[in-house]
Structures are given as structure tokens and as C-alpha cells.
């Protein structure tokens, strides 16, 4: 399925392996339940796909062995995956974080802010919302009010910097 990051639509070097198929590629995304099996199979890079009901704390022990975590979005209005991403980042995961499901371009900046690197969307959706819309959406909100999130210029921090500068006479 089409994959999106800050540069636009990109090629996907990962292969999704469903529960029935055998493990073969170099970089595979498997259901979380099959992680142990894959780990034993000596595969180069392993990613897991998790439901949006997963407890982020359950994943922490696997962080070092995982290059990618894919979080399921059953529909775009279900924001649970955003909280999971945020918690996973907070807990120190530095691999690729991928949103999987029908997120819309208008949510791109939010997904990035919560810690996602890539979004994998259905073909039908990518056809309606081509690359340009995702790029525009990424830039649509250049300022944010929430500290501790990752996207856009933070207004509160900007104000603090400005305030400190004006106190020391720099402005």
C-alpha cells in the first residue's frame, strides 16, 4: 500500500507478512503475536504490527530488537493510535513508527507530532488524496501550542525565548 513521509510518496522496503505466510524477506513486518518466531528465524530487520488496544508498556522490552512498529488505525476518526505513538516515543523507541490505515492527509501533521515517521494508507485513499495534498497538509500548521510534541514551531517555547531575550536586552 502507498507509503508517505515528509518527502512525499515513497517506496516501501518492508514486506508485510500475514499470519499464514512463512518468513522470508530481509525486512518484514509481522503481527506482534509472531515476534518470538521471527526473532528465532534470524531475520535482518523485524517490525511488528500492533492493534490500537496494545499497552505501550508491553512493547518496551522488545524495543532493542525492533526496527519498526506499525500501529493499526481501523478508521481515521479513532485517535487511539496517536496516544500509543506518543507513549512509545516517550518510552524511548527510536526505530520507525508507522501508522497503518485510512488516515487522511489532514491528519498528517498530527501523526508526525505524536511521533510517527510514515503513514501507510489504502490505495483508494492515496488516489483521492495525491502526494501534493500530503505535502501541503504537512505544512498547513506551522505553529503549535503543545510543548513536548514533535512537529511545527512551538509557540510557548518561542515566547519563553523571546521573553528571556528581552530581559537580557537582546531585543
Amino acid at each position: 500500500m502507498p507509503l508517505i513521509n515528509d518527502t512525499g510518496f515513497i517506496a516501501d522496503s518492508w514486506v508485510r507478512v500475514s499470519e499464514e505466510s512463512t518468513l522470508f524477506a530481509e525486512q518484514i513486518i509481522i503481527p506482534f503475536a509472531q515476534f518470538e518466531e521471527a526473532a528465532a528465524a534470524n531475520i535482518k530487520k523485524i517490525g511488528v504490527h500492533v492493534a490500537n488496544t496494545v499497552k505501550p508498556t508491553e512493547l518496551v522490552q522488545y524495543f532493542a530488537k525492533l526496527d519498526l512498529i506499525s500501529i493499526d488505525f481501523p478508521n481515521f476518526a479513532d485517535g487511539r493510535g496517536l496516544s500509543i505513538a506518543r507513549s512509545i516515543r516517550k518510552a524511548g523507541f527510536i526505530g520507525e513508527l508507522r501508522a497503518f490505515g485510512p488516515l487522511i492527509a489532514d491528519q498528517y501533521a498530527y501523526a508526525r507530532s505524536c511521533g510517527f515517521d510514515t503513514i501507510e494508507v489504502p490505495e483508494e485513499l492515496a488516489a483521492r488524496q495525491p502526494e501534493g495534498q500530503w505535502k501541503d497538509a504537512g505544512k498547513s500548521l506551522s505553529l503549535s501550542y503543545q510543548r513536548g510534541y514533535m512537529h511545527g514551531k512551538n509557540i510557548l517555547n518561542q515566547r519563553s525565548i523571546h521573553e528571556a531575550a528581552s530581559r537580557t536586552g537582546a531585543v
Binding site: R80, S83, Y110, Y145, R147, R159
Partner: protein
Amino acid sequence: MNALQPRSNSAPHMYRYDAFDAQFVRERVKQFRSQVERRLDGSLTETEFKPLRLMNGLYLQLHAYMLRVAIPYGTLSAVQLRQLAFIADRFDKGYGHFTTRQNIQYNWPKLKDVPDILDALADVEMHAIQTSGNCIRNVTADHFAGVADDEIEDPRPTAELLRQWSSAHPEFSFLPRKFKIAVSGAEHDRAAIKVHDIGLRIVKNDIGEIGYEVILGGGLGRTPMIGHVVREFLPKNDILPYCEAIMRVYNSFGRRDNKYKARVKILVHETGLEQIRAMVEAEFNSLDKASIAHDPKELERIAAQFANPVYDRFAAKFNDLQTQMDADPEFHLFANTNIASHKAQGYSIITVSLKPIGGSPGDASAAQMRVLSDVADQYSHSELRISHEQNIILPHVRTSDLYSVWQALKAAGLATANAGLITDIIACPGMDYCSLATARSIPIAQAIAKRFESAAEQHDIGKLGIKISGCINACGHHHIGAIGILGLEKSGIESYQITIGGDPTLTTAIGERLGPGFAADDVPDAIAKIVDVYKSTRTDGEAFMETYRRIGTSPFKEALYAAH
């Protein structure tokens, strides 16, 4: 331009956008403009577009779109109100409707005009962001904030901090359901904090520090619930991390399988308060608070802008009010009900009732909005407030000016002397506008007001709040009306259930249902019977709610349902 310099435009005693706020709102308008275009060219399906338009305040109603504009914590400048009047004239049918959540609704905008309306709002530092949708809604506060004589601290700086923090929140814009926050800083609760998803009460602890009591899980709607104290004392600087913790717990665990069980009140109820508290505290403790919390200077920066005007010391010398009241009985009635005491000597707070007998509760015409703007400019330091009772407040009026203000209001049909009385009825739009309605509410309010038209009778009855909702969603807050009326539909016929004893203040209570519903035409009679029971049993000076608490529901039930 210095980015932190407040921009001119509004009253000097309220928060004004700096360059960041202004840019943020403009970008949001631009984004919505392109979303409308992308809906029209098919890039967005209707399902995808819906939450985007809702988060910009745009509803699809019975006859047309409805745009809901935020009046954060109810504070409004004369310049802003004039712009609301302009929008009503230019893009709507010349009036607006003030709601129970400190918003104004326009009932007839065209989709293609909405981005222009949003730009017109941005011109005066206003917006419609998050007045709808499954996100954190417009933050509300005590409408007497900053001027009430029972205040510990002005709740608006906190509300403004939260308004900013909740705006376009990347993590909490696709919640299980809507989320409402209210803040109160006074001893009396005028913001109904116990029936909000989060209610914040500014309190002082044993060692004199100011912080927040955090109340979680209140709400009206289908399943009315009173919120629980989840944290007795939260240090001020922890407010954003603590809210983030609550929201993350709710976003992760709130039910998404059933729209009617998706509010946080149900999560609290089903999980149990102790368990929820443990979950919130665990999440809170896991956070790197320093990276989330606001700089205390930021709250100071905001608070400084809400500093009260410099009041005239000599205003206190005025002592002719009683003489003026004695000389003019009509003014006397007005002064009795629509004037509240101000914390500064020689000043008063005026409530302008938007409930004229026979009118639509909460409606104001563009002309009336302009009169109010002018009056505010001349007499109230260019500032106004919108109350959750759907009235407009003039917060800084010299007591010596009351009579002149009253005359100006009277000339514009705005001097209805009924604030807090039986005809000061709160009503949702109901069947006349709302696509969810099961019954009418405005005509019911009008019929009751007509029934109790006589000023003498209203004043004799005294304080008595009636609240009407046109369906179970309870936008008219009927559960917390001393008398609540809920319009339902029974096999094609409207039926009105009456509850009694609801209370929106700190002694919050959900009203009790008296019995089977009434037909629309019979509602005024039923209300009259309830009032008669009160009048015949009250002791000297006893208000309706006090009598009710003393005698309970039985006498009222009997009056309504006993066979004759």
C-alpha cells in the same frame, strides 16, 4: 512588530492575540478554506470532511448549515461584538443565538461563505475552532470572572492557557467523544463545573498556595452525572501535564463502540473512581513534566492582560441609587434582579436579559448587538460577557451610571427585568433548528413566559430557573434546572417530561422526574401548578429551591397527577 506585543483591536482588559496567536488562527482559516475546496473536488469524502468541519464549528442542521463561534470563557470586547453583528447582517439573517456554552450560533450561513466568516472573526481575534466535534471544546468560565466579590482568583488566565493548549492538539483531536472543560475561581460556582468532563476549581491549600481542585466525569446528556474530585489539590504549574494525563487515559480507554457511552463520565462510572484516579496519577507520574508544563511566566503574561481597569475611587461616593429606584418603579424592578455586586466599591455588574417575554431565549439581533457594544464602550470599559444562562453581562458599570444604562437598554428592548426569575428561561434551539430534536423548545419557553408575564407575579415568585431541552442530549441543561423540561416524542406526538430540584451550583443536583410527560399545550399549566405548591408552602423569604429541599417532590407530584 514585536511578536509579544498585544495587538490593538479589543478591550484593554482581556487577552489579546500576539503575532503567534494571530498567525495560528489565520493558518487554521486557510486550512479550512482548502478543506472546503477538497470536499467540493472529491478529495475528501463526506465522512472525512465531517469531523474537519465540526472542528471548525460548522454543523449541518435541519434547514441549513449552522456555524458556532467560540467566545472563550465568555469574555467579549465591544469591537468583537460589533463584528458579530456585522457577520449576522452580512452572512446571516440579522441575528445570532447565544448558547449555554458561551458560544454564538449563526443559523443560516452558506458553506461557501464560511471561510470568509472565519476570516472576519480572525480580524477581531476570534474563531470557531473546536466548538464542535470529538475534541476539547471551547473552555468556559464564570461570567463574573475578575469582578465577582467572592473570587479567589480570576479563572480566565487558566482558561486561556487551556484554550491555547487544547487548540489543534495533535493527540486529542480524535477523541471518543466531545470533551468540555470549565473553570471557576470563586466561592460560588457560576460555571457549572460539576457537570463538565473536567471542572477546575481554583482553591487555596492549607499553606496558602493557589492551585486547582480537579473534578472529572460530570456531564448532562442521556446519562446525567455529577463529576468526582479526582485530585483535591493540583499545583498550578502541573495543570497541563495533568490534563495531558487525563486526556491520554480517556483517549486510550474511553468507549468507542457506543456513541452514548463514549463520554469520560461513563469511563469513570464503569471503571470506578479509584481505578481511574490510579490510572491518571500513574500516567501523570510517568511524564517528563518539565517538557510539557507551561513556563510560569507564560501564565503571568496572560494574567497581566486580564488586569482590571483602574476603577474610579470617587465612584464609591455615589449614594443615590435607592432614590433613583424609589422614583422609578420600573427601574426598581430591574435593579432588584439584573444588578449584582461588584468587587470594586461604587461599581456594579449588569445582566442584560436576552429573554424578553415572547422572544427566543438567547437570541440577539444585529441592532441589539450594536447597542450593547456602544453601551459597553460608554459605560463598561468596552467589555462584555456571555453567561451560560444565555444572557449578556456588562461587567464594569459605575453604580452612578446604572440609571442611564438602563434607559439606553430600555430604548433597545433590552431591559427585561427578569434575570434569575421564572421567565429567564434557558432553552436549546430544539425542533425549530436542530436536526437531532425530538420536540420544540423555543415555543414552550415562549408559552411559559407569556403565562408568567406579569412582572409583579415574577418578582413575587422570586428566583426560579427553568431549563428546556428539545431532546435527550440536554443542551438546554434541563437536568440542572430548578424546573427542567425535556421534550420527547411519543408515537409522533410531543411529550414534555418535567423534573424538579436540579441545581447547577456547587451543591449540584440532578433534577427528579415528577411523572409522565405532558402535551405541549399543557406545559404552562403544569408549571403553574408547581409554582402554586411553592407559593402556598413557602415560609417567609424561602426561595423555590429551599422549599423544595424542605418538602421534597411528593406535594408537587400530587398537584400534577392526583385525580381530581
